[in-house]
């Protein structure tokens, strides 16, 4: 295998997949960092976002990309609603109970998807797309647009967190919640804002996965492990870390086929998760440990 083949067959798909993981992992790391629990319904919320985009596309009969902003808005609202209905009343109890509630929410979201959209696999667009060549690197349009979309999302989010008053409040809450409250930051506002952003990110991850792969009711559940591995690998609470972690997990999965049978691709994330917990639980960029 020549070097350029290696890039085209392993690294390019790894980067595309990894950038999708990253979008999901950023949401995980934000919930972990700011609200301080592992959100197990993250993947199934992504599934729901992907299917909302599908229905939007069907409604307007247009490019699937029309579905993305709509799905992001809907998923943001759903995430805020889930928090108000199922997580908020557990606020003062041990956080692990919220983790449990989120597992129940995962099941509920998935069954809604199964009732509304069925259990069969589907795609946004049919047909085979030939990749174009850019300096020897083969890239399909949808892959190129996926990378652009992820870049836009990450840059936009970073700008919000670094520059805006409420973005800073979110970082402050993640950094030192007691001091944030002493400074007059309203916890409820930050929580709501966090869920809105996280919901939108979930929908984006689900949509992009559906675009590059296929849609089915289990797609999000299978995203959960790589997303958590990416978030913890990067360092809990670190947005840049989740991006880095996502790319590493994605590339590692695509490289795993060189040494493991293909069906064990999904095991790669698990191995990375255990290894990082064993040797460096704070992650590559020194995040939090709960």
């Amino acid at each position: 295998m020549t070097f350029i083949d290696f890039i085209n067959f392993h690294i390019v798909p790894g980067v595309v997949l990894g950038s999708i993981y990253a979008v999901g992992a950023i949401g995980i790391t934000m919930v972990f960092g700011i609200l301080r629990f592992a959100h197990l319904a993250h993947g199934d919320l992504a599934t729901m976002g992907a299917f909302i985009a599908l229905s939007t596309m069907g409604l307007f009969g247009a490019s699937p990309w029309v579905g993305l902003p709509v799905a992001m808005i809907f998923a943001a609202a759903i995430a805020v609603g889930i928090d108000k209905t199922f997580y908020d009343y557990l606020r003062d109890r041990p956080k692990i109970l919220t983790v449990m509630a989120s597992l129940g929410v995962a099941l509920m979201l998935r069954s809604v998807v199964q009732v509304v959209w069925g259990v069969d696999s589907t795609t946004y667009q049919r047909g085979i797309v030939r990749p174009d060549e850019y300096f020897g690197i083969l890239l399909r349009d949808r892959e190129l647009y996926t990378l652009l979309a992820v870049a836009t999302i990450v840059i936009g989010l970073e700008a919000f967190l670094r520059k805006s008053k409420w973005g800073k409040a979110m970082r402050a809450m993640s950094d030192n919640p007691d001091l944030a409250r002493l400074s007059g930051v309203d916890n409820r506002h930050v929580t709501m804002l966090t869920w809105a952003i996280v919901g939108a990110l979930c929908a984006a991850a689900g949509f992009l996965l559906g675009l590059n792969n296929e849609l089915n009711s289990m797609m999000g559940w299978h995203l959960l492990l790589p997303m958590f591995a990416a978030a913890i690998l990067g360092g809990v609470g670190r947005v840049e870390g989740a991006l880095l972690g996502g790319l590493i997990v994605g590339i590692a999965e695509e490289l795993s086929v060189l040494i493991l049978p293909g069906q064990y691709k999904a095991a790669t994330a698990f191995v990375i998760l255990l290894l990082i917990l064993l040797v460096r639980p704070r992650g590559l960029l020194n995040g939090k440990v709960l």
Partner: protein, 235 residues
């Protein structure tokens, strides 16, 4: 002299047990009041009572004409009292300037004057405004913590052991800055382990023991008191 803060026979604690068994402390405008005492005397607890972090079961806390007994901390902040905890008192992953911005979170309008004031009080920090607070030395972090609290332009600043773990050089510097803060018109109540040094620099001091007042007076008078000196022998 009318007091800015007046704690009158305050009793209370975190759970069911009363840690404070009748503490009375007053702080006048533009005054530095130090609370010292042996471990477990209830020094920090007395300070937290002012800030509404304690279940107060008896006595009264008056601030600037209001009875603030039982108020929630965020209401007390808005009334003009800011609190600097002993540990975890900065946002480590945010820059010095962002820490100050967070301090002013509740303030609206032009903040230039407030920034000029804190950078004026802590000139060392002006050059480090883009550095992460977590990367600073212990003394500089303490300055960031004080600066953050001052951004809201409080009338009373509560400092919980600001010199804990600092070298003597930084301790002096913190005390000097505390005086500068007082001279800019803020009253200060601080809890100190380093009793001798603190009593030497303060305006007035209180010695607490087992949750109640033991001695009070000017710093110099307390330092001259034989009983007080004995309490802090070697301290």
């Amino acid at each position: 002299m009318s007091a800015l803060l007046s704690m009158q026979a305050v009793r209370g604690g975190y759970g069911d047990a009363d840690i404070l068994q009748g503490v009375s402390i007053t702080v006048a405008p533009r005054e530095i009041v130090v609370i010292v005492g042996p471990n477990g005397a209830g020094k920090s607890t007395a300070m937290k009572a002012v800030f509404g972090l304690l279940h107060v079961r008896g006595g009264q806390i008056l601030f600037d004409g209001d009875d603030i007994t039982g108020w929630a901390p965020n209401r007390i902040v808005k009334r003009g009292v800011c609190y600097v905890p002993q540990v975890d008192n900065v946002f480590r992953e945010m820059t010095v300037h962002e820490n100050f911005e967070m301090g002013a979170f509740l303030r609206k309008g032009d903040l230039d004057a407030a920034y000029d004031r804190v950078y004026g009080l802590f000139p060392d920090l002006r050059a480090k405004r883009k550095a992460l607070a977590g990367d600073l030395s212990g003394g500089q972090r303490q300055m960031v913590a004080m600066g953050r609290a001052l951004m809201l332009d409080p009338k009373l600043l509560l400092l919980d052991e600001p010199t804990a773990g600092l070298s003597p050089k930084y301790m002096e510097q913190i005390f000097t800055i505390t005086r500068d803060v007082r001279d800019s018109g803020v009253s200060i109540m601080l809890v100190e382990q380093h009793a001798k040094q603190a009593l030497a620099f303060c305006d007035r001091g209180y010695v607490l023991a087992t949750g109640a007042n033991r001695h009070e007076g000017t710093g110099a008078a307390l330092l001259a008191d034989r009983e007080v000196a004995q309490m802090f022998l070697g301290g």
